[in-house]
Symmetry: C2
């Protein structure tokens, strides 16, 4: 099969790889119908040291079950399934708590002999625990929004849930990437009344408004904080969907005492400046890598009936062989989120 493999910063190749086969009786092989490029894929694309062996890329995909292992009970050949961005047994103590991202037996695509999602097919471990069957045809117009449940929409939802967003709240979303925009959808869905989106890319913030943002703040740094405080007086709930220290500083500047900052962007820093000052202000820092598997079913209903349309974040489609172009376009900010069709 063909699949995308990263060999170092800027060096993504689409090449022939062995066709996936059932290894463990809990596995399924899924033929990919749609995949995409994640903002977090851009970090290795920008900085990964060169390697001779390469790493299969991609962790967001949906597809059709091609083959199942002997122990797989809930899926059969031909089922259309969404893969959450990590696999999980869905039975361990963490999974039972809804924290499938920390599954005791779980793991990540592209590592430990498991294929990446940016390829023609994937062997999915713990298929029963991982994959969620969806009741539409493989050519449904809903596919982009269903694919968004693999990561960006469930991650945005995790941010809103972790921040404790509820009816009538004022919420700040920092970052107009696909996750930030999905966090806008999620905050609105949970009842937020005011949603301030901090972002500088007009096409993206326009989509944010369509998703429910009531205000957009383009200024950054101290000026951005001042503008957010002027608009809102400060907010109790912040969803930080970038991962840089600057974005975190904006969150810390805009949040009210006693407020909550939920992080969704993978931190590009090791240390957080929450010493005595943040302590005196009772700031809560929460969030993290979202347990997509925990949320897919509850968000699925809203996607199927058209209540939410997170698939609008995909603004260009590439064939699998053009995946390197997709990375480049996203890295250059010409594309918000690239959809890959094998």
């Amino acid at each position: 099969m063909r699949a995308a493999v990263m060999y170092g910063a800027g060096d993504l190749r689409v090449e022939d790889r062995p066709d996936p086969k059932i290894v463990d009786p809990a596995d399924a092989v899924v033929r990919t119908v749609a995949a995409c490029v994640c903002g977090s894929d851009l970090w290795p694309y920008r900085s990964m040291p060169a390697t001779g062996t390469g790493r299969p890329m991609g962790h967001e995909f949906l597809g059709v079950v091609e083959e199942t292992g002997a122990e797989v009970r809930g899926l059969k050949t031909g089922d259309l399934v969404i893969a959450p961005f990590t696999y999980s047994d869905n039975t361990c103590d963490y999974c039972a708590k809804g924290l499938q991202i920390s599954c005791r037996n779980g793991g990540r695509y592209g590592l430990d002999g498991v294929d990446g999602g940016q390829g023609e097919a994937v062997r999915v471990p713990y298929a029963d625990g991982t994959l969620v069957k969806v009741p539409v045809a493989a050519d449904s117009a809903l596919l982009p929004s269903l694919l968004a449940l693999s990561d960006v929409m469930t991650t945005g939802h995790h941010g809103a849930v972790s921040a404790g967003v509820g009816r009538g709240d004022a919420v700040l979303v920092v970052g107009d990437g696909a996750v930030g925009l999905c966090a806008v959808i999620a905050a609105g869905r949970l009842g937020a009344e005011r949603i301030v989106l901090a972002g500088r890319h007009e096409a993206r913030t326009d989509l944010g408004r369509r998703f429910g943002a009531t205000d957009v703040v383009a200024a950054r740094g101290e000026e951005g904080v001042a503008r957010i405080r002027e608009l809102t007086g400060g907010v109790d709930k912040v969803i930080e969907a970038v991962g840089t220290r600057q974005a975190l500083d904006t969150a810390l500047g805009a949040v009210l005492d006693g407020g909550t900052i939920s992080r969704l962007g993978v931190p590009q820093y090791e240390e957080v400046p929450i010493g005595p000052a943040a302590f005196m202000r009772n700031i809560t820092l929460t969030g993290g890598a979202g347990p997509a598997r925990a949320y897919i079913e509850q968000l699925l209903t809203d996607v199927l009936d058209g209540t939410i349309t997170p698939g609008l974040v995909f603004d260009r489609t590439f064939t699998l062989d053009r995946t390197p172009d997709a990375y480049r376009a996203m890295a250059d900010r010409q594309v918000l989120k690239a959809l890959i069709r094998p």
Copy 2:
């Protein structure tokens, strides 16, 4: 009047100060009946640069109302009152949310022309908003436990509430100081089933067991974390009641993925190591300076009927003139918490 004033590290003096008088019509003057020394008083005692003017010390006290300003409605001369460790109007937006520590008009004792609590009398701003009247005589045997509501017990309660402690939980309390021990009481009161107390001072951890700790871990650092994990398999809720990086590292090592660390110890660090690893683990960091005023009434009932006895943390009483000895004894760890009787 006589009052304790800090002039620099190790240089605490008890000296004559002007008798407090009503300055603002919302003030009350309170004649101190009992005060105490806080663990946080020891930080300036260890490190404050020398100063010519000095700073009045103490922020935990109870006493009898001596005089009230023209606007004070809820208090009268002769009332016995508990002073939370900061004053607050109890009407602003933060106070309305139960975050009196962030009161828009509030402040701290010993600053801005307000007396410290370690003295014969205190002018208390926003007396109606700040002081809580208690229905006992000034010579009641309950006084130490009532005094504990001024800070340590309400702070311990804040830790347990912020950590989300509930029925059946396993909770780790890091630190066997007075706040940590009160956090043990608070965790038990909220229904925790297993309470592991990390501390090395046997007399203190023995009191912790009396307060409800089910396990004591004396080992520190990695060995301590290993022991806590061996005992519990990791915990979902941690109350960090020290304020050092080592205590925070213990908390981070012992907490389960998806768990919560509530900080009560004033951080003696500026940065927290919660980068990508803590992000992937969905660790929540919460807590902060407790809004004592928000909790006094609800804990008062349990003190009055003897359900909780936080006053046991006071293991030695000093006269006001011997306050320097009280600091020294606490700094040398000969005394857990010193009670001061003017």
